[in-house]
């Protein structure tokens, strides 16, 4: 059985914890509860013909008061970079975090998920923004922790890359 540590990275309130909750337990909690430090959840999935246990480190988001503790990413095989489609500032934060993580921890596989497709009419992220990310060679997916859309696909894409099968 392969076990891989993966991290959730992004600005505060983008839905990192909600995505984990949807993926692990198929539940969604509408109320925003901030994460302090890091919560860790575990899930076994089948990827590329192998059973993989993902240890998901749900890191506290970057906010005005404290930066993400990138030391928590040590030993990770990849990360999910989460953006809130309704808040443009979270795209800018994601770009900075990706750069910082690469610089401080080293290059590692990651997948971008732009969360909150259930609120599409309120999106500040547009197709040009997504195309710009994709042009960097990044894997960019859209999803919703609330509806569940795109969530298994995002984690499966990350797991595939984390085990080096992509």
């Amino acid at each position: 059985m392969i076990s891989k540590k993966v991290c959730m990275l992004g600005a505060f309130a983008v839905g990192k914890t909600a995505l984990v909750g949807r993926f692990i337990s198929s539940i969604f909690e509408d109320k925003y509860i901030t994460t302090v430090g890091v919560n860790i959840k575990k899930k076994q999935i089948a990827v590329a013909g192998q059973e993989v246990t993902l240890m998901i480190w749900d890191l506290a988001g970057e906010d005005e008061f404290q930066g993400v503790q990138l030391a928590h990413m040590r030993g990770a095989a990849g990360f999910l970079l989460v953006i809130d489609g309704t808040r443009r500032s979270t795209l800018e934060t994601a770009l900075k975090l990706q750069e910082r993580a690469t610089k401080e921890i080293g290059a590692m596989p990651f997948v971008v998920i732009v969360n909150k497709t259930d609120l599409l009419p309120q999106w500040e992220i547009n197709d040009a923004d997504l195309a710009d990310l994709a042009a960097r060679g990044w894997t960019v997916l859209k999803g919703s922790a609330k509806s569940g859309a795109g969530v298994p696909e995002a984690f499966e894409a990350l797991a595939t890359r984390a085990i080096g099968a992509a």
Binding site: K5, V38, I40, D63, F65, A71, R74, G75
Partner: protein, 146 residues
Amino acid sequence: MAANIPKGLSGYLNLVALDARRPAFVRVSPEGQVIEAGGELARYGLGELPTGSAIEDAAPFLTGLLPLAGRSATLRWVECAPGVAADVHLVAEEAHDWVLLLDATEEVQARQAMQQRGNEITLERDGLARRVRELEAEIERLRGGR
């Protein structure tokens, strides 16, 4: 700084710190096996750790972290068990690594309340700024229609 503490007090301070931080420790071989373990292991969901057992089986949160390869690290506020957070000190020594867990649950709970309120205020502020932008755009549109 430690050299300035009178001997009689340093023992007391040690007890206060141990009582407050409820340490648990594990010494791990380069192959990831338990060499020795002690302290308040159960508090962090570790329970029994027989010598020779694989540390990652008992502490899955250590996946990917060991061996340290000479690089010590401290990971703050890690949820090790439901409702229990610890500062995880990973101490590299030549022939083995130490994992030291120090309780940080109270600190995390205190911070949670502050961080929650701070982020809620930021979200409200950003939401209002967005509403102002929308209204300004609407005003411009109406002016243009004159």
